[in-house]
């Protein structure tokens, strides 16, 4: 969804073929998570990302995701790492096929499949909230030259996982996040 778009409850309801009530609840939830902005008059829009906001979201990811990865590391067996490698291969394909939506989705799947092992639901929920907030700008990320770095960073993550290298894992995750979001702001 493009940033800066105005939503109306009746419009959303009509789009999904439901009444206003479910649309209202969905909007309420998304705005509570920061994925949507509500003006004082109740109008709903997708937030327009500025550089400060992007830097903040990147900092949040850089704080939370290494911690989640570190907690997941003791429980990351080879089966999981293989699956992550598989996801990464699919990411490479999506980059070649120029499929932005699938790229973003697979990228999150890659990270989430690791973080799920951290046994930290509240922390994971918080990271997913940040992902949701940075979602619209992730679409812009695609098409930039940085996307090819993602695969390289992911390989570093996988290597650190296989080696059981906790500091290396934290660093690789951090680099992946920084490359993904913070560079976009400048």
């Amino acid at each position: 969804m493009q940033p800066g778009v105005a939503l109306t409850l009746r419009g959303i309801a009509a789009d999904f073929g439901v009444s206003m009530t479910p649309a209202r609840e969905a909007v309420r939830r998304l705005s509570a998570e920061g994925a949507l902005q509500v003006s004082k008059s109740g109008r709903v829009t997708t937030p327009e990302p500025n550089n400060e906001r992007l830097e903040e979201l990147a900092a949040l990811r850089a704080l939370l995701e290494p911690e989640l990865a570190s907690r997941a590391l003791p429980r990351a067996h080879n089966v999981l790492i293989d699956r992550m490698e598989n996801i990464n291969d699919q990411i490479d394909q999506m980059i070649l096929q120029n499929d932005a939506a699938a790229y973003v989705r697979l990228n999150q799947d890659f990270h989430r499949s690791l973080y799920l092992r951290a046994q930290a639901p509240a922390m994971l929920a918080m990271v997913e909230t940040v992902w949701l907030q940075s979602g619209p700008t992730m679409r812009r990320l695609y098409g930039q030259k940085q996307q090819q770095f993602a695969s390289i960073n992911h390989r570093k993550i996988l290597a650190a996982l296989r080696a059981g290298d906790e500091p290396g894992l934290r660093l690789a995750i951090r680099e992946d996040v920084i490359n993904g979001l913070r560079l976009l702001g400048s």
Copy 2:
């Protein structure tokens, strides 16, 4: 509000003298923030805190709050520090008066007044979400012997702020958080 309480939409609506609709929206928002649990059948309860959850919330605070404090430090002038000292004096009074609700509220005011200076709304919103999730258990915290540490930790925070000591500030915040929540879990 006690942990483990069951809420009904009609009950909430009746308590506040409104219809079901506003109650539903409030519940939706609070559950999106993790402050309320919804079962698969839609029943709403306040989450029962277990040790894993407490440890997680403490870890989140320990990650986020030092960062917020560090960002606020360059903008923390004497006027702000004086106000925080004032809040801390009120906290001491509330401890003497055994007013649990006021104690928790003032404690959050103390931290929030500093973090507001960080100019990081998304990060602050995330911390407030954690506070909200740990709110019910904070009530239990009161009455334990740890509460008296809060004032000592807060004094360390104030001293680090006045000295412009960034590492000391991070450490003091971290200690305050750890003492406040993590000790409660064990």
